[in-house]
């Protein structure tokens, strides 16, 4: 009997860890995405607890190695707008350019994710949590990196540069029915300016 338990124990541990990690991440990711979409800050204590379990070292490391540290609500609860980054320097407007479709796809995904995190200048308030503010600062640092790399890559030398972060808004079905010539609208969400030190 002990022999049988010995041979079955590893697979039981694997099943327990794997299914716990899948369910914890899928449930908490789905729930918090839904809450964020509905702008609700009143979280259910059970889901907060579940999310805390998901952030424990064991589950986090296991999730990273097993790939289960993600949710599965692809394009849910809404297909988001694509984003675009417009870099301006020395009177020229440009955007990061890639040679491969895959690289472009990865970059577009990153820009799309920023839409969810970015705080429009006017909307930023004291109510934002420290984590949100820190994430916003970090995003600004990422955008500064991208601006500098884009200018260097395309050989544009300048003292001042700016980066406009815009959302590409697809007109709704209703708008398209009313206006036959409704087109994708570029909605600037934030503009960051950088001085010469970016070239240092």
């Amino acid at each position: 009997m002990y022999n049988k338990i010995f041979w079955r124990l590893p697979v039981v541990i694997l099943i327990t860890l794997q299914l716990s990690s899948i369910l914890i991440h899928a449930l908490s990711s789905g729930y918090f995405t839904y809450q964020k979409y509905n702008n609700s800050h009143d979280h259910h204590p059970l889901m907060v607890y579940l999310s805390e379990i998901g952030q424990t070292k064991v589950i986090e490391i296991f999730g990273k190695i097993s790939g289960t540290d993600c949710g599965y609500g692809f394009f849910a609860p809404n297909v988001r707008s694509n984003g675009i980054l417009i870099v301006e320097g020395a009177g020229k407007k440009t955007t990061p350019l890639f040679q491969t479709h895959e690289a472009q796809l990865r970059f577009d995904g990153f820009v799309g994710d920023l839409i969810n995190d970015i705080i429009p200048e006017k909307a930023s308030s004291n109510q934002d949590s420290l984590t949100t503010k820190l994430q916003d600062r970090y995003n600004q640092l990422l955008l500064k990196n991208i601006t500098l790399s884009t200018l260097q890559e395309q050989g544009i030398e300048c003292d001042n540069a700016s980066l406009t972060y815009a959302a590409l808004n697809v007109p709704s079905i209703e708008e398209s029915q009313l206006l036959s010539n409704a087109e994708i609208e570029v909605i600037p969400m934030r503009k960051l300016t950088f001085r010469k030190e970016i070239n240092k």
């Binding site: 590893p10 697979v11 694997l14 794997q18 299914l19 899948i22 369910l23 899928a26 789905g30 839904y34 979409y37 070292k57 986090e60 490391i61 990273k64 190695i65 097993s66 790939g67 289960t68 540290d69 993600c70 949710g71 599965y72 609500g73 692809f74 394009f75 849910a76 609860p77 809404n78 297909v79 694509n82 990061p96 890639f98 040679q99 491969t100 479709h101 895959e102 690289a103 796809l105 990865r106 970059f107 995904g109 990153f110 994710d113 970090y138 640092l141 990422l142 990196n145 991208i146 790399s149 884009t150 260097q152 890559e153 590409l168 697809v170 709704s172 079905i173 398209s176 029915q177 994708i184």
Partner: protein
């Protein structure tokens, strides 16, 4: 179908070859842009990228720091290219079934390290690549149609038979089946909570996002009809009912065809080629190849007939 009758000789080699080939194509697909992701002049500097990680995984920047004082520490891009080269090599070993278990473990670790090094640019296909490589570690992928079968190392054989006893292929397959059911179930239910999915607006948005390979402006003629609403609900029901329908023998093939069709549509509409490919592999590994039936060979039929005639004679 009973657990122990899953056709390991079909799903195991298919899983091994497809996950290895997919992973090679996936990492090499943006090789011409590596400098923008992995070099010292990348879009986001490695130290900035590293700053947002919570320190639970080792990425290339950490390895770079560990190697301080060596040539590799001086050239981050060289280190990255070396890691990618080793990754492709172990994946090739996995594809042909050479030192399969070791190759799979190394492939998984390198994939996690490489993708964590550019974690801001990770997307769904990367997560599913990790998921399938993780399962590949536990499954006896070198059991059929592999070079390992022709190598007779007694130590490797002993370790392999112990691992196969500890982690039987049928149980690994069952976990994979439960996993894919959770994936689609959650995806369908989460979509159902979105008002834009309920109204069909999400499909309209997706086809107009200008990310795919085909110009879908001809879809505009369906404006005013229930076309987008119906397409959205077909997608949501296909996903939400997947855990039930895929496990019923009669509906399995219809749901597989529908799901694979949905992923091909995602390629055309959103251009997510790699994501669709890995999901199709996941579907075929879990719910197609394990259920493939052997055609009765001529020899077995004739031996059966002989048995029947012998029985008749006895009677």
């Amino acid at each position: 179908m009973k657990n122990n009758s899953f056709k390991a000789k079909y799903w195991l080699p298919f899983f091994r070859v497809t996950i290895a080939v997919f992973s090679i194509i996936h990492i090499l697909s943006f090789s011409r842009d590596y400098a923008l992701f992995f070099s010292g002049n990348s879009f986001i500097q490695a130290d900035v990228m590293d700053a947002n990680l919570r320190g639970v995984a080792i990425n290339l920047f950490d390895i770079h720091l560990l190697l301080s004082g060596t040539t590799l520490a001086a050239d981050y891009y060289l280190l990255s290219k070396l890691a990618i080269g080793v990754y492709v090599f172990v994946l090739f070993c996995l594809a042909v079934g050479l030192f399969t278990r070791l190759s799979t473990i190394l492939a998984l670790l390198l994939q996690v390290v490489l993708l964590d090094s550019i974690h801001s640019f990770k997307y769904g296909a990367d997560y599913f690549n990790t998921i399938l490589l993780f399962y590949a570690v536990w499954a006896p992928l070198g059991k059929h149609f592999s070079i390992d079968n022709h190598l007779n190392f007694s130590f490797r054989n002993q370790v392999e038979s112990a691992l196969q006893r500890l982690f039987p292929a049928n149980i690994i397959l069952r976990i994979m089946q439960i996993h894919i059911c959770i994936v689609y179930g959650f995806s369908g239910i989460e979509k159902m909570t979105g008002p834009n999915w309920q109204s069909g607006e999400s499909i309209w948005r997706a086809v107009h996002n200008d990310s795919g390979f085909i110009d879908f402006s001809f879809f505009n003629q369906f404006l005013g009809s229930s076309f987008f609403w119906a397409l959205a609900w077909v997608t949501m029901l296909l996903e939400a009912l997947y855990p039930i329908m895929i496990n019923i023998n009669f509906t399995r093939k219809f749901w597989l065809i529908g799901t694979i069709g949905m992923h091909i549509s995602i390629v055309l509409i959103l251009g997510l080629f790699h994501f669709a490919a890995i999901m199709i592999i996941f579907n075929l590994v879990t719910y197609f190849f394990p259920y493939v039936k052997d055609k009765p060979s001529q020899r077995s039929i004739s031996s059966k007939q002989t048995f029947i005639s012998l029985s008749n004679t006895t009677l």
